[in-house]
């Protein structure tokens, strides 16, 4: 493919902003839980795209690139030095609290965000990507640079914590009594 053809396919800046700034902001807000910080992260992500986006060879991965970049910027901003512990799905022992669809439908965004603030920080990114975008687990793993099993376990645990925070009742005792094979 010639350079001209590749350039022609490369999305323009305004088009990318129009397409992704909402979901990127929502992702940023889920991570940072601060409007100003989420705005900064979103702007910074597009700034990085403007300066380094030309290095991305596969233009079909622009969306993943943007989410990956935003996540990295968030981690950098927090200067996290400690590695997050990895849990495999088989190790997840938290039961999903029982919450009704009607209860969730009654919530407004503010209540959701309050609940989101109550879950462990390590689960924010996978849970947000799980709900905001219909990414495959493999893609989420690539964006967050963690194994796919870890993605699943973090989503599972994060959802459990989120539903608990939203007022879900503890799981039915009968479910706990069941033995694992």
């Amino acid at each position: 493919m010639s350079h001209t053809d590749e350039s022609a396919k490369r999305p323009n800046f305004e088009g990318l902003v129009e397409q992704y700034y909402r979901s990127l902001y929502q992702f940023a807000f889920s991570l940072a839980q601060s409007e100003s910080e989420a705005c900064d992260l979103t702007q910074q992500t597009f700034y990085i795209w403007a300066t380094k986006g030309h290095q991305l060879r596969d233009v079909s991965k622009v969306k993943s690139w943007l989410f990956t970049t935003l996540h990295r910027e968030f981690l950098e901003s927090r200067r996290r030095q400690t590695r997050f512990p990895h849990y495999e799905l088989s190790q997840v022992d938290e039961e999903l609290p029982s919450i009704s669809p009607a209860r969730v439908n009654q919530l407004d965004s503010a209540q959701l965000l309050v609940a989101l603030q109550q879950i462990d920080a390590v689960y924010h990114a996978p849970v947000a990507l799980f709900y905001l975008e219909d990414y495959a687990y493999k893609e989420i793993a690539e964006i967050l640079s963690i194994p796919m099993g870890t993605v699943k376990s973090r989503i599972s645990r994060g959802i459990a914590q989120l539903q608990q925070a939203l007022g879900g009742s503890p799981p039915a005792p009968a479910a706990k009594k069941e033995s694992r094979e």
Partner: protein, 255 residues
């Protein structure tokens, strides 16, 4: 797979996405189709997930964010370049100033001790392993002596008897504190490669190294994973280094 295991897997199942193609989900979904209770649980679970997904996507976007991103792009793409140029110029000026101030001081305080000389020489070969960089690669001792003599080295170096029988592999002239150091390399025979070197002799004028060993018995030191023997003979000071131990070095030192 039992019901509880299926529930664990289906906790994060998203209907209408590629999840259904995942083998784990597929097996759990197959079980749900046979188990009405599990199927009902899955239905409720899916409704909750749909509702939550919808709420996440309703997180309000601040007004003017898009315009802010687009407008700042112009500022961001021009300002950093200017900043970088200014910063680069300031940094370069600072480095030059610092170098001008500090280098003369460093030079006057450079460690000229024999220990430092020994350490520097040993590090040179320790970094390069069996194939150190040489100015002349040859097994001909006469050629080595000639080369060293012609390049301000020490062509008249005197080898202990044990070392005279060892095959030379080449030589180099190394600088140290503005003085010339002759390096002569040998192959002890332990390594089958003909051009490998595992004995390294450094020669320097005795007067060029303060507190160099006086004439007499060699002294042994372990430096940077190499064992060294140092001694002075005539007007020259010698260091012999090898990856072996002291005993393996001693056999080369009999005069």
């Amino acid at each position: 797979m039992n019901r509880q295991q299926a529930q664990e897997i289906l906790r994060i199942y998203r209907p209408g996405t590629a999840d259904a193609q995942d083998p784990d989900f597929a097996a759990a979904l197959a079980l749900a189709r046979k188990d009405p209770e599990l199927d009902n649980w899955l239905l409720q679970q899916s409704l909750v997930q749909d509702a939550l997904r919808s709420k996440f996507r309703q997180i309000p976007i601040p007004e003017g964010l898009k315009e802010q991103i687009l407008s700042e792009r112009k500022v961001q793409t021009s300002l950093p370049l200017k900043r970088k140029l200014v910063l680069s110029a300031v940094c370069a000026a600072c480095i030059l100033l610092l170098a001008a101030l500090v280098l003369p001081l460093l030079r006057s305080h450079e460690d000229k001790s024999f220990a430092n000389f020994q350490s520097r020489m040993v590090k040179t070969v320790a970094r390069q392993g069996l194939y150190p960089k040489m100015d002349l690669e040859t097994n001909d001792v006469a050629e080595i002596r000639k080369f060293l003599a012609q390049h301000q080295g020490h062509g008249d170096y005197v080898l202990p008897n044990g070392l005279q029988k060892t095959t030379s592999t080449g030589c180099a002239i190394l600088p140290w504190q503005g003085k010339a150091v002759s390096m002569v390399c040998f192959n002890s025979g332990k390594n089958p490669a003909a051009n490998a070197s595992d004995l390294f002799l450094f020669v320097i004028n005795h007067a060029d190294v303060p507190k160099a060993p006086q004439a007499g018995k060699p002294s042994f030191v372990q430096t940077n994973s190499l064992t060294t023997a140092s001694w002075t003979y005539g007007d020259k000071t010698y260091i012999l280094a090898t990856p072996g131990d002291e005993a393996s070095l001693r056999k080369y030192l009999a005069l």
